[in-house]
Symmetry: C2
Subunit: 163 residues, 2 copies
């Protein structure tokens, strides 16, 4: 298990051929206080169920072209390291559950869910764009308004800012 | 004077030849609850002091190329309208102060400023990347961490979410 983070965000069903919304969502999350204070861990699941782990020090490039190239490189080489050998992004094996601490509170976002609430000291995993909820997953919403993953990412940094 | 909004955001000193951060910042603001509930008004001031007003119904294109084309078109034609004649974006005359309600609380962001605080019922104008503060402008910060306009926009939607 990697180092513990109270908030885990999983972008499910990611379409590798159109990364524009994921790109902007990641830029929003990366620059949030949550990430700066090292409380956030991000995973990406592609439509073909490839699971990707992101290190909080990864700098998401501002340009979509550069980000798309980065993702293409990652899917070919399975890993992106910096000069010092830190793995900034990697394709990982097994199910996502293996990477979450025990007793993580799992939530799947859907406008029909109840408004999210949070307690101190808990670990959360929020699945964005997850169709098939697992048994121990609750369906919640983070806004009363319909939003795409950019707005949702913003709302999440808002709601969980004091984790 | 246009319709009243409690929060006004002004992107100052905008470099028209590199709109990437402004583009993402606008996408973040556009999808925020503040904008959805119609409490937000956005202005852009270019480095050459061209003042631009954005209508809250303007859809910011996801692609940077499309956004750059939109801005180029605007600076040539002075106005962008939708099919029904609603002005979605326009170059406006006079100083920004003319477009803010009287008694608007003006703030200029700088990491050296004191942490922003807000009161109910007040109108706020936040100047991002404004070098020369006017006399009646306070210098404040929205985060203890250094952030660019993307992170700042996210923090603002967070701090002012309950306006």
């Amino acid at each position: 298990m990697d180092n513990y983070k109270p908030l885990n965000i999983i972008f499910s069903n990611t379409n590798i051929s159109d990364l524009s919304k994921l790109h902007i969502s990641l830029l929003v999350l990366q620059q949030s206080t949550l990430n700066i204070t090292n409380k956030l861990k991000i995973f990406i699941k592609t439509q073909k169920n490839v699971l990707i782990q992101i290190h909080h020090q990864l700098e998401i490039p501002l340009s979509l072209n550069d980000f798309t190239s980065m993702m293409t490189y990652l899917l070919e080489k399975m890993k992106i390291k910096d000069d010092k050998g830190t793995v900034l992004m990697s394709v990982i094996k097994n199910r996502i559950g293996e990477y979450l601490p025990p007793n993580t509170y799992k939530m799947r976002l859907d406008v029909a869910g109840k408004m999210v609430s949070k307690d101190e000291g808990k670990t959360y995993a929020i699945f964005i764009n997850e169709n098939d909820g697992e048994e121990d997953m609750e369906t919640v919403r983070v806004s009363d308004y319909k939003m795409d993953s950019i707005g949702i990412s913003n709302q999440i940094t808002n709601i969980f800012s004091d984790l």
